[in-house]
């Protein structure tokens, strides 16, 4: 049994396998299928300062080896999270991290301040990259200045581990990662969904109510791996890798590319117990190759 413990900033994880925001609800949706205490952490559904209804149906289209979604950050707001969801999930023995979204800097800061008060939430993941919100995340996440501005403001208001989730829909993700690191982020997670679209030729209509949406699943993995590798060799803070991870072998590829931890997203829909299986698979890989710690393979790509 290899040592799977990792650290992101001050925060220790029992293993490097976590679940991606928006694909895992608040964890409770999965308790019929798996033991939440066995994974390293859970990133909650995107949470905003106020209730959001999200986009109109249809919000999903299956695509070759993946899917498009346009959920549009449907959530009941941070106060509802604190009063109704947090008490039910806070005592799981895993790191529960709130994914914070917003359409203005004030909203991000106000949400982060409220979450900062919650004892059992050791970290937030700042979503500066959701492509679905019309005047929202996208505008911050696609420029260095915008990303730096929101991280600077939230860093002042939030004292615990601050993870910033990056958008792949940019020309140079490395410079954005550097800008975010310079403002005091403890970690970056990447990638969020790739902007895409799907058309029904028979009806000449788009499949999504919003026309465009976020692409996820195995089809995005090569792009995600490339970005994780580029960012990890440039920044000093730990990188959390995600995008199309379906099994332990995919996860290992992200560690080799330089990720310190990984998130599993869309794969949870196909096998709701996949995250626990990935923990077991990583352990098996490390044993089989004679490594004693997960750190032995982080960034160990031989190129």
């Amino acid at each position: 049994m290899a040592d799977l413990k990792i650290r992101i900033g001050e925060l220790e994880f029992k293993n490097p396998v976590t679940t991606a925001s928006g694909t895992f609800g608040f964890g409770e949706e999965y308790t019929d299928f798996m033991d939440l205490n066995r994974i390293g952490g859970i990133f909650t559904k995107g949470t905003t300062i106020r209730h959001r209804e999200g986009n109109a149906y249809p919000r999903m289209a299956e695509t070759p080896s993946g899917m498009l979604n346009a959920v549009g950050l449907q959530n009941k707001g941070v106060d509802y999270f604190i009063s109704s969801i947090y008490p039910r999930i806070k005592d799981y023995d895993t790191n529960i991290m709130v994914n914070v979204s917003g359409s203005t800097i004030e909203d991000y800061v106000a949400t982060a301040e409220k979450v900062n008060e919650l004892d059992k939430i050791p970290a937030i993941e700042l979503n500066i990259s959701c492509p679905n919100v019309k005047q929202g995340g996208m505008t911050f996440g696609v420029s260095c200045a915008g990303a730096a501005e929101v991280v600077r403001a939230v860093r002042k208001a939030y004292s615990k581990t601050l993870i910033v989730k990056l958008s792949p829909n940019v020309t140079d993700i490395v410079s954005i990662a550097q800008a975010v690191e310079d403002e005091g982020a403890d970690s970056v997670s990447l990638i969020n969904t790739l902007l895409g679209m799907a058309i029904d030729a028979e009806t000449r209509k788009p499949y999504l109510s919003t026309i465009t949406g976020g692409l996820s699943g195995p089809c995005v993995k090569p792009v995600a791996l490339r970005m994780v590798w580029q960012v990890a060799k440039t920044v000093k803070i730990p990188v959390i890798g995600l995008g199309g991870i379906m099994n332990a072998a995919d996860a290992i590829e992200f560690f080799l590319a330089g990720a310190t931890a990984i998130q599993i997203g869309t794969a949870n829909f196909i096998d709701p117990a996949i995250s626990v299986k990935v923990v077991e698979g990583i352990n098996e890989y490390l044993d089989r190759h004679g490594y004693s710690s997960i750190y032995d393979i982080i960034g160990a790509l031989e190129a």
Binding site: G22, T23, F24, G25, E29, Y30, D32, F33, K45, E53, G54, A56, Y57, P58, R59, M60, A61, E62, T63, P64, S65, G66, M67, N69, V71, Q74, G217, T266, N268, F269, I270, D271, P272
Partner: protein
């Protein structure tokens, strides 16, 4: 789950029966399963299919499926003994009537008749006398009529008049009689027409929706329908809704 039978029904439908080595969990009428379709390169997500019937004595689950695309075509090739991975049971259920004396009409269109067979069997078991109104394009699309007849009177419409009364379910003469409650499943325009009829005649009506799904258990929020109290997940807060609750423009 292990396939115990795959029975073609007409040109585009088939009935799959599954058994399991352990006792099947309790399943409610209106609930569905999420089938993982393996060895179909174009199929990424699971496919939601309604519980058509549960044969408790044989520990058997029935799924009635229409071939529409790669996933359902692959399912039509299942052979006895094949092992199929599915999540079950998912979703809420139809609600039982207040009295066994209630006059109940179960209205199904196309493959939407699937959940009504199981619902009808349980109603009958509880001492009700359900009536079934089943619609299809033509006689070729009518399935399981003999199964339905075990549980109540069956009325039929076909759009081309090749069986039963000609027209849509909402034009059938049975609707002239007194009805206390309607349960419906089928294409959305049909369910909306049924809901409109129910509303105009002050009849309780429950509809089972078939929105596109990714997870099927409330985690992704892809499958929502607009209701009087905002977006609700069809997979976890449905698939069955009282039609009064839905924001249908009817």
């Amino acid at each position: 789950m292990v396939v115990s039978a795959n029975i073609p029904l007409g040109s585009s439908h088939f009935l799959l029966k599954f058994t399991h080595k352990e006792k099947l969990p309790e399943m409610l009428p209106g609930q569905f399963v999420q089938v993982r379709v393996d060895n179909a390169p174009g199929v990424f997500l699971r496919r939601p299919i309604s519980v058509n019937f549960v044969d408790k004595q044989r520990n058997e689950l029935w799924l009635l499926v229409q071939k529409v695309g790669e996933g359902t075509r692959k399912m039509s090739e299942y052979k006895t003994g094949d092992v199929v991975n599915m999540l079950l049971p998912l979703g809420n259920s139809f609600t039982m009537p207040q009295s066994t004396q209630s006059r109940l009409l179960l209205v199904g269109g196309g493959v939407g008749i699937a959940p009504l067979l199981y619902m009808g069997s349980l109603l009958k078991q509880q001492g009700c006398n359900p009536m079934f109104l089943l619609g299809a394009r033509s006689a070729d699309g009518l399935m399981q009529i003999d199964d339905f007849k075990q549980f109540g009177d069956v009325f039929i419409t076909t759009e081309d008049g090749s069986a039963g009364e000609k027209g849509f379910v909402t034009q059938h003469s049975i609707l002239q009689q007194h009805i206390d409650k309607i349960y419906t499943c089928g294409p959305t325009p049909m369910m909306q027409a049924v809901a409109r009829f129910a509303q105009n005649n002050a009849i309780e009506c429950e509809a089972s929706l078939e929105n596109k799904m990714a997870c099927g258990f409330g985690a992704c929020l892809c499958c929502v329908t607009q209701t009087q109290s905002g977006h609700k997940c069809v997979c976890s807060e449905g698939p069955v809704f009282n039609t009064k609750e839905l924001s249908w423009q009817i």
